[in-house]
């Protein structure tokens, strides 16, 4: 039987994990667009919070090794995706600009 407190901890960690992932993506994109060091720094704070929440989940004894690995992969994916997406979006816009030039 699981410790009842652990269920609530997992719920909270799950909520914080994705919320922080979204805020990381939001501020990272904003920081890149406005070329603001402060916003990028802020985005990394949220990335840190995301990793921290992810670690709380990974450390939870309810999860077996398979699930711990799965969560670790998810953390990595959520860390990479904002950077990857910025790269894709910038490429798309650059390509469009080039094609617009006479």
């Amino acid at each position: 039987m699981i410790n009842p407190q652990a269920v609530v901890t997992m719920l909270m960690a799950g909520l914080l994990f994705t919320l922080a992932a979204g805020l990381y993506a939001f501020f990272y994109a904003l920081g890149k667009f406005w070329k603001s060091f402060f916003l990028e720094l802020l985005s990394f704070l949220f990335a840190f919070l995301m990793v921290l929440s992810g670690f709380v989940l990974v450390a939870c004894p309810t999860f077996t090794l398979f699930w711990k690995l799965l969560l670790a992969v998810s953390i990595l994916a959520y860390l990479i995706i904002p950077r990857g997406m910025i790269w894709v979006v910038q490429k798309l816009h650059q390509k469009e600009k080039k094609e617009d030039l006479p």
Partner: protein
């Protein structure tokens, strides 16, 4: 190219679909208010309008009005994409009349007859009994027929126009998937596990896969209309979105197979892909921020712009954050079916689909009311926009608190016994949350009335400001 002030016939048909959608939206909210009041006063309308029927109508009205909104969007933008009137207009009009009459009959049966014996008459003429898709079999066939007509109209129009653009490709294939997955929910089998297995194909693969892609198509068209975003950027983005949504969403279906008697491997498959399901939504946030920035938040249609930007954030929060929170089987074992699910549903549907439909309607209103150009703006839409967002979070937050309390008291501590259920329901975090939810529900309904007034009046008065910047 047609005169910008004149509407295509299919665009007029789109207006009918949207009008019906807005009316059904109102009914959805009225039914929602009744059942949320029944949480506070369980004897309210007892044996006249039971909670189960109210919930059924609340959910089905939502599904239908969102669908009608999407169909309206297809009929509005399709002639603009193909630069010609749609093929099969008569069929489209006939389908609209049929579906409007069918909705009336089905609602009438749900209100007056409500339930029947467990036989074929009930299945065909009263209700199929499957949650969210309770419509009787004849209405199911009608839904498939209507979508088949839309599919034919889209395909035939593209064929005639000889313009198969990337967005249209995605739309055509997605419509085919929408029809196919709905048919999967029409099987009847006495084995409840097998029945649920197929039933989720409709519910999950519609809402978390094909609807997301359809909305991607509609959002792309709205972005072209309100932000003048280049087609190539949107098409490139749309392909990526389809890849991510289908890549994670199709097998994310597994999170519904956790506790229905499906094999245990679904825990791993469902858990893995569900954990990745918010990825496309995070990606969309990046895209929305970057694209709005590229256009320096400049638009001539502020309501549509704000709703479409909110769509990516609302979708992420509702579907992504509130979804991920309880998607892993180790957590879901305890949170399954609590108010957390309701919180997730309310925020996700509002963020992803309601916002898209409202944005599309404002996009159309600009063309109708300001055909000679000008800004679509005003005061009322701002109040409505803020009010809707505040009230949906006002509904979601207490439901989340109640869900946490239920998960802890009923499930984790009490072990899902009947006594534990009663203890959970009597806990102040659950009881008071229901009162807060009802209060914010009333606020939401007031916002709906404001939205209706705004849709009827916006753009009729000239806007003084020539400013096209949003902030």
């Amino acid at each position: 190219m047609k005169n910008p002030g004149i509407l295509y016939e299919s665009q007029k048909l789109a207006l009918w679909y949207w009008a019906l959608a807005v009316v059904l939206f109102g009914f959805q909210l009225i039914f929602g208010l009744i059942i949320s009041y029944q949480y506070l006063q369980p004897e309210f309308l007892h044996k006249i309008f039971n909670f189960s029927v109210g919930r059924l109508l609340h959910l089905n009205a939502m599904i239908l009005w969102l669908l009608f909104g999407f169909i309206g969007g297809i009929y509005w933008f399709l002639p603009l994409e193909t630069q010609r009137e749609i093929v099969g207009l008569f069929l489209g009009k006939m389908a609209f009349v049929l579906i409007a009459v069918a909705v009336g009959i089905v609602v009438g049966v749900f209100l007056l007859v409500q339930i029947g014996k467990a036989d074929w008459v009930t299945l065909w003429f009263i209700t199929e009994g499957r949650e969210y898709i309770e419509a009787p079999r004849w209405a199911d066939i009608g839904i498939v027929a209507v979508f088949s007509i839309i599919f034919f109209n889209v395909l035939a129009t593209i064929w005639k126009a000889q313009k198969l653009k990337g967005i249209l490709w995605v739309l055509t294939l997605d419509l085919l998937a929408i029809i196919g997955f709905y048919i999967a929910g029409m099987f009847f089998t006495p084995n409840i596990s097998v029945d649920q297995f197929w039933w989720w194909w409709v519910v999950h693969l519609w809402v978390e896969a094909t609807w997301e892609v359809l909305v991607g198509v509609l959002v792309a068209w709205v972005l072209m209309a309100v932000l003048d975003t280049p087609r190539k950027i949107l098409e490139g983005w749309l392909y990526l979105e389809v890849f991510l949504v289908f890549g994670t969403g199709i097998l994310g279906l597994g999170h519904h197979y956790f506790w229905i008697g499906a094999p245990e491997y679904w825990l791993g498959i469902g858990g893995f892909f569900s954990a990745l399901e918010p990825l496309p939504l995070v990606a969309m946030v990046v895209h929305a921020v970057y694209d709005a920035g590229m256009h320096r938040l400049t638009t001539t249609n502020k309501p549509a712009f704000f709703w479409i930007v909110f769509q990516s954030f609302g979708n992420f929060l509702g579907a992504g954050v509130w979804g991920f929170m309880h998607t892993l089987p180790q957590i879901n074992l305890y949170s399954h079916g609590t108010q957390i699910t309701a919180a997730h549903g309310h925020l996700a549907f509002f963020g992803a689909y309601v916002a898209t439909n409202i944005a599309m309607i404002y996009t159309a209103l600009q063309k109708i009311r300001l055909s000679k150009g000008g800004n679509l703006d005003g005061r009322l839409w701002r109040w409505t926009f803020v009010g809707f967002i505040l009230s949906i979070f006002g509904i979601t937050a207490p439901l989340t608190v109640a869900g946490f309390a239920q998960t802890f008291i009923e499930r984790a501590v009490g072990g899902s016994t009947w006594q534990a259920y009663i203890n959970g329901q009597l806990h102040p975090w659950v009881k008071e949350a229901m009162a807060w939810r009802f209060g914010f529900g009333i606020m939401f309904f007031i916002c709906y009335l404001m939205l209706v007034i705004d849709l009827c009046t916006i753009g009729k008065q000239p806007v003084d400001k020539e400013n096209t910047h949003c902030l």
